[in-house]
């Protein structure tokens, strides 16, 4: 994979030494360089002192809330941030995403899940930096420059709003996009509460892009939070994205 050329640097901010240890081992086995911080203050300082490619932050830190860390880092940096949270806090997840976190992983989690999220966030970052116009998610390809969508090479006809919805999701491909963000981007801020718009258009969109709309593999639902464009056919999501970046 392309990351092995230059080892990406990950900053882990968590007060639990055992969590930091397994994350360090997991990341190092996968070719990352790991920096650790046990408190929010330490973490924020580490993020300013060293070049960091991605930040993993736990929500429950002893000295400050994880969301404060997100807010403080976001005030001067666009570095991808992934939050570790516990379940039953959908409202909190939405707030974190709106504050600028790129994604979240629910505790307890497996290392593979976290690595997948990290790779997606890193890829998005590099795509944003290179101005890459095409996003491929499994059999679906969205050419953001040409405003063209193809499924297995066949051109799809989408309505303007369907395309806009897909476009916003594609810009964040792999990461979850909140309902509010989608509603604001597609229908404008006056429709921020109209989740039914989203439900109806997502349904229409799935009829066109999903091989089986009843069990979607491309446009995934994150209940209570938002949607994610992510091919879950197998562990192919990231390689598929990688090939897309090379051929345009």
């Amino acid at each position: 994979m392309q990351m092995s050329e230059v080892s990406p640097i990950v900053l882990v901010i968590d007060d639990e030494a055992q969590i930091r240890r397994f994350l360090r081992t997991g990341f190092e086995l996968n070719g990352f360089v790991v920096h650790e911080a046990g408190t929010g203050t330490e973490g924020i300082r580490a993020a300013t002192l060293r070049p960091i490619d991605i930040v993993i932050v736990d929500l429950g830190l002893p000295d400050m809330d994880g969301s404060e860390v997100v807010e403080r880092i976001r005030s001067w940096s666009t570095v991808p941030i992934i939050v570790l949270s516990v379940r039953s806090t959908e409202a909190q997840k939405v707030r974190l995403l709106e504050m600028g976190a790129d994604d979240y992983v629910v505790k307890p989690f497996g290392i593979a899940e976290l690595l997948a999220r990290v790779r997606v966030a890193l890829r998005r970052q590099s795509r944003a930096a290179s101005g890459e116009p095409a996003v491929t998610v499994g059999p679906l390809m969205i050419d953001l420059a040409a405003r063209a969508v193809t499924l297995n090479g066949t051109r799809l006809t989408l309505t303007p709003k369907e395309y806009r919805l897909l476009q916003v999701l594609a810009q964040h491909a792999g990461n979850v996009v909140t309902h509010q963000h989608l509603l604001k981007e597609v229908w404008g801020s006056i429709h921020m509460q109209d989740t039914h718009y989203l439900r109806i258009f997502v349904r229409k969109l799935r009829q066109k892009i999903e091989p089986n709309p009843d069990s979607p593999k491309i446009l995934a639902t994150e209940l209570g939070v938002g949607y994610r464009l992510d091919y879950s056919g197998a562990e192919t999501a990231t390689p598929a994205l990688a090939t897309a970046t090379t051929d345009v």
Binding site: F22, L29, K107, P108, I111, H179, H196, R199, R203, D214
Partner: protein, 513 residues
């Protein structure tokens, strides 16, 4: 308007007397007509009719007025010499005296009858109030229930707006009754100062209303403080009302004491404290357990992918065991946390318009590992209506049902997941080919810690799953039901959620432009 009650009393009397006057006049005309037409010698006896009517309808004074007027009218209109109060015939004088005696006795009898009737009606109302009160007490579960029953009872007894304050209730949040800030302040001051004060304090609220704040019972502080709205009254009137309140409260307190309310309140206090302690304990223990579990699970996943273990199938299997057992433990802890959430704070759903298909898909995704050995069939139309629910809660309820279906049905059997809209309801059902339910098990499965006797030794579980699912669905205004043809015949567990078609929001026509 001051003196409202006194005013009312006089107005009622005056009205009675005025009506009596009319009645006597009408009788006079009637008697005159009868005498003129038929030629009867005297109509005095006819004046008993207005006396009776006045006694029954308007009370003693109008009745006596009617009797007196009857005498005057007879003497003036019918006894010679006519049109003079002078009476010549001694026989007529005797008649009149007899009439007066009868009239007075009749009016007294009639008014007594009337007051007895009113008293028994009043007693009936009181009995009904008391009955309703004791019935509410019988079903009261905690202190707040008892307090609100007392509040309503006192309101009924005193016919005034009554608000009860106590340590056990949230004094700021009153259901629908607006209590002026001055009264709240007085209650707080009163509670802090001196609880023995039985006379209480009057508060002039900003709206011009006069409130009395006092202890319900000086002897039993458990009953709390009471604030009574006297409305807009003068000081004199308040004094009168206060004595009425004293009497009513003495009665009410006697009732409360007879019913053993003080004991019940104390007991409910203790019960809720024990409950709170237990929930807090479960909550903190579960949280403490989950933290190391995250490390165990994470470390196991790192190990299973480690190059050192590649090809080591036996060690891999061990790591896999660590992982799956940790996941199971995590599920159990999550159930305990959910259970404490249900019984301590209650569930507050975050409702939004959700696609039932999304909820089912998320739940299936979550249970993919657990249901891997089963053949899952999905059966739903593509045009399901949207539902207004908390999708996360509904998903968690579904996960519990899937978990249950997978646990109690053999590997390789079929689990059918269906969704359909019917009669204004969305029904999500899960049918398995497993252990089924016996007639006795069927109603018990929703109970907390319910575990079927047949499975107690063979299948592990906390018995919380379906109880949690039921609570989550109830919080969304839905209900659950279970159908089974019997043990070994499989079971269908269904979630029913309301679909209010009228409430489904429409989309602006330019939404797709």
């Amino acid at each position: 308007m001051p003196d409202a009650p006194k005013n009312n009393f006089f107005r009622k009397e005056v009205r009675g007397i005025a009506l009596t006057l009319g009645l006597v006049a009408a009788t006079t005309v009637l008697v005159a007509v009868i005498i003129w037409q038929i030629g009867l010698s005297s109509g005095t006896v006819a004046y008993l009719v207005p006396v009776l009517i006045a006694a029954i309808r308007w009370g003693l004074i109008p009745a006596l007025v009617a009797a007196f007027l009857g005498v005057i009218a007879s003497a003036y209109f019918f006894f010679p010499p006519l049109y003079s109060l002078h009476i010549t015939d001694p026989q007529e004088v005797v008649n009149l005296i007899l009439y007066i005696c009868v009239a007075v006795v009749v009016s007294q009898l009639a008014t007594r009858l009337k007051s007895q009737l009113e008293m028994s009606r009043q007693r009936e109302i009181e009995m009904r109030d008391l009955y309703a009160f004791s019935r509410r007490l019988a079903v009261a579960f905690d202190v707040a229930d008892i307090q609100s029953a007392i509040e309503d009872h006192l309101t009924a007894v005193m016919q005034q707006q009554v608000v009860l304050f106590s340590a056990a209730r949230d004094n700021k949040r009153r259901n629908g009754t607006a209590v002026p800030a001055e009264v709240i302040a007085a209650v707080e001051g009163f509670a802090a100062a001196n609880r023995d004060n039985a006379t209480g304090v009057t508060v002039n609220a900003s709206g011009g209303e006069v409130w009395l704040v006092r202890a319900v019972s000086p002897k039993s502080p458990e009953f709390g403080l009471i604030a009574i709205n006297f409305g807009r009254h003068s000081q004199d009137d308040s004094d009168e009302l206060r004595s009425r309140v004293d009497a009513a409260l003495a009665d009410a307190t006697a009732t409360l004491e007879r019913l053993g309310i003080a004991h019940a309140i104390n007991e409910a206090h203790m019960r809720s404290q024990t409950d709170q302690l237990r929930e807090a304990l479960i909550g903190s223990v579960s949280h403490e357990l989950r933290t190391p579990l995250a490390s165990i699970l994470g470390a196991a996943t790192v190990l299973s992918a480690a190059p050192a273990l590649r090809g080591e199938t036996k060690l891999q299997a061990l790591v896999q065991d660590v992982r799956s057992e940790a996941e199971r433990l995590n599920d159990d802890i999550q159930n305990l946390l959910d259970a404490t959430r249900i019984s301590s704070d209650g569930i507050v759903p975050r409702a939004e318009w959700a696609d039932p298909a999304d909820i089912i898909d998320s739940a299936l995704e979550r249970c993919r590992g657990r249901m891997a050995g089963h053949h899952v069939v999905l059966n739903m139309p593509s045009d399901l209506p949207l539902i207004h629910v908390d999708p996360v809660l509904v998903k968690q309820a579904l996960v519990q049902i899937f978990d249950n279906a997978a646990k109690y049905s053999p590997p390789g059997s079929q689990i059918t997941v269906a969704a359909r809209a019917r009669d204004g309801r969305m029904v999500l059902s899960v049918t398995d080919e497993g252990a089924g339910l016996s007639a006795t098990e069927q109603p018990q499965i929703w109970d907390r810690f319910a575990r079927g006797q047949r499975h107690a030794t063979t299948t592990s579980g906390s018995g919380l799953g379906l109880w949690i699912a039921n609570a989550f669905i109830a919080a969304n205004g839905g209900k659950m039901n279970a159908v089974s043809d019997g043990p070994g015949q499989g079971a269908t567990l269904a979630i029913e959620l309301p679909v209010t078609q009228a409430a489904v929001p429409h989309m602006e026509s330019d939404a797709d432009e």
